[in-house]
């Protein structure tokens, strides 16, 4: 055997090593990312499902005792019910506004060529580039001037601004997924633009629209900064928890956290397929 012959297996071994190493790195990264997300959620769940005494006691529990004491305490805490209602109302309004305005914009992006289309696409995303703290103060002043401060409607408007870029981009990609030929066929079969949309396009994109609506709901549900700045009496749940963090007992924070996190997690999990669509990944 010559040296060259020997070199080939050696090289192979090195390549195999390399592949194993990168696989380990990949696995480690995934594990760390998963733990990063899952451990806090797990701890929240454990403490939510334990009695207040266990939450504050020592040693800490790592398995839930399925005591509903913390949750009951949370549910009966002064102001929680109202904050929860505010959250739901604001999120629902956000959902309606962002789909009501975003879906037509998405349709326009998907179907029409108009000057400035690409600029519009970028500008839509740019709205997310402004940090909310920067906008919050001017917004608060403006809202006070026109009487929108401390209203659910005003807060919903701000949340709509946050949710709409996603609504536009997700719905645009949904509409792009419906062949134009289907609409044209509907026109030749007696539809006008609107009835063709209602009878053909809408039924086909409805699941995606619902998903995009849920996403808008979750964005509003989770948003804390604008909610804390723009409302005083009409606090949403995150803003309410944030402002009462200092005086509230630990079990309340955990229970509140769980009530906030779980619906968001559940919804996002349910609609994950459509969120990929936003990035143009075909997933049908």
């Amino acid at each position: 055997m010559t040296a060259a012959d020997m070199a080939v297996p050696a090289k192979k071994v090195r390549m195999a090593d390399h592949r194993t190493a990168s696989r380990w790195l990949m696995a480690a990264t995934i594990t760390i990312l998963c733990l990063w997300v899952l451990v806090p959620i797990y701890l929240i769940l454990v403490n939510t499902l334990s009695s207040p005494a266990q939450v504050n006691g020592w040693p800490r529990q790592f398995l839930p005792s399925f005591d509903l004491g913390s949750l009951t305490f949370f549910a009966n805490y002064q102001g929680v019910a109202r904050a929860l209602l505010n959250s739901v109302v604001v999120a629902a309004l956000t959902m309606i506004f962002s789909i009501g305005l975003g879906a037509p914009a998405g349709y326009a992006l998907a179907r029409f060529d108009f000057p400035g289309k690409n600029v519009f696409r970028v500008v839509v995303l740019m709205t997310r580039a402004f940090p909310l703290p920067l906008l919050a103060l001017p917004l608060a002043i403006m809202f006070i001037q026109i009487g929108l401060d401390d209203t659910r409607f005003g807060l919903a408007l701000v949340h709509t601004m946050l949710a709409m870029p996603f609504a536009i981009l997700i719905t645009a990609s949904l509409f792009m997924g419906v062949p134009y030929e289907l609409e044209e066929a509907a026109w030749t079969l007696g539809c006008n633009r609107f009835t063709a949309f209602v009878k053909v396009v809408l039924p086909l994109v409805m699941p995606g629209i619902a998903a995009s609506a849920v996403f808008a709901f979750v964005i509003s549900w989770n948003e804390v900064f604008a909610a804390a700045v723009l409302t005083i009496q009409n606090r949403t749940l995150p803003a309410f928890l944030l402002t009462s963090l200092n005086e509230a007992p630990t079990e309340l924070k955990f229970a509140g956290g769980a009530v906030l996190v779980l619906p968001a997690l559940f919804f996002i999990f349910a609609v994950r397929k459509y969120l990929f669509a936003m990035w143009g990944i075909a997933n049908r």
Binding site: P179, E181, L182, E184, A185, A186, W187, T188, L189, G190, C191, N192, T195, K199, V200, P203, L204
Partner: protein, 346 residues
């Protein structure tokens, strides 16, 4: 019952002209095929007639009525799309009945017409299925049935068979021809497949570069192409062309003298179809390059006077590559073209 009149129709997009001043009349109950390579404007013309696009200039009439400004739904047309455009969220029944329902027809009438259209296309057993559960050929049938159920004045078909495999296409071609003959609807059918055009059309309109080059019966498009383009586009293999020079009142092509048109030109083009050549002692001689047996015939590719030349000959003739053979063109099948304008010469 409707005649279609297209007068001076032009379609310009931002930077190019898709259709140049098209004039065309489609008679009532006629089956007209728009034939051309991709990008020739045939689909654009169809879409203008359908009302899916709007003409930049000119007038389109259906049944004597100007329809330029009318949306598709008001034109009394039905269209079959290239990709079928069967609505995926509706059953076959609801697909076929879609247009009738839009017309607010009572449901027992809808049921009756849908059943009739489905029977014509032999899909009555598929009425409860969704498009996702159908094969390409079945979807095609649904699309045609949906158009027929509308009982339109004009039926427009945009390459309806191009997505089917070869065997299915042949079957559907014959079936479609039968169904359309029976329905007696004025039909415009767009295709790039000349066999489809030849076999189905009452009349073929050959399009090229946004112009209609020739509109005539299939056989006269084949036998008497109006231009060099038509001769080279239609027929497989296409027409053979040789330059011909004037000499003593005759035209000489590849050293052989032929009687030709009396025109004031020094050079014109001689043309003959590959199957209009017979082995002979006198005629066009050339060295055989390739022999391809095709069963009933053999396709012989040869060199005549430095030009590529093809002949379709009886398959039992013993011909080998490298040989020199002589072929006599049938005198009544010889055609002549002007090399500059490319138009046929009489």
């Amino acid at each position: 019952m409707a005649e279609i009149n297209i007068k001076g129709v032009e379609k310009r997009f931002a930077s190019f002209t898709a259709l140049h001043s098209i004039d065309l009349t489609v008679k009532d109950q006629e089956f007209l095929v728009l034939l051309g390579a991709s990008g020739c404007g045939k689909t654009t013309l169809l879409r203008l007639i359908a009302g899916l696009d709007f003409a930049t200039e000119g007038e389109i009439q259906i049944g004597g009525k100007r329809v330029n400004e009318l949306p598709p739904r008001s034109r009394e047309i039905a269209m079959v799309f290239q990709n079928y455009a069967v609505f995926p969220h509706l059953t076959v029944f609801d697909n076929i009945g879609f247009g009738l329902r839009m017309k607010k027809m009572p449901s027992d009438q809808i049921r009756q017409k849908v059943t009739k259209a489905a029977e014509m296309m032999h899909i009555e057993q598929l009425l409860e299925r969704y498009s996702g559960q159908l094969s390409g050929g079945q979807r095609q049938r649904v699309a045609v049935a949906r158009a027929l159920a509308m009982e339109p004045e004009v039926l427009l078909m945009d390459e309806p068979l191009s997505n089917l495999d070869a065997l299915l296409r042949m079957e559907m071609r014959a079936e479609l021809k039968g169904v359309l003959q029976e329905s007696k609807t004025t039909t415009i059918y767009v295709t790039h497949d000349q066999v489809e055009a030849m076999s189905m059309a009452d009349r073929i309109a050959v399009m090229h570069g946004g112009h209609i080059i020739q509109a005539a019966s299939p056989i006269s498009v084949y036998r008497d192409p109006a231009s060099r383009f038509v001769g080279s586009f239609i027929g497989n293999p296409p027409m053979n062309f040789l330059p011909a020079k004037r000499s003593n009142g005759h035209w000489t092509a590849a050293g052989v003298a032929f009687d030709g048109p009396s025109v004031d030109k020094e050079t014109i083009e001689f043309a003959i179809r590959p199957e209009d050549l017979d082995p002979s002692d006198t005629g066009l001689s050339g060295r055989v390059r390739v022999v391809e047996p095709l069963g009933a015939h053999q396709l012989v590719t040869m060199d005549v006077d430095g030009h590529l030349f093809r002949a379709v000959l009886e398959s039992d003739l013993p011909i080998g590559s490298g040989e020199t053979i002589t072929l006599a063109p049938k005198p009544d099948r010889i055609r002549w073209f002007d090399p500059e304008s490319e138009q046929a010469l009489q």
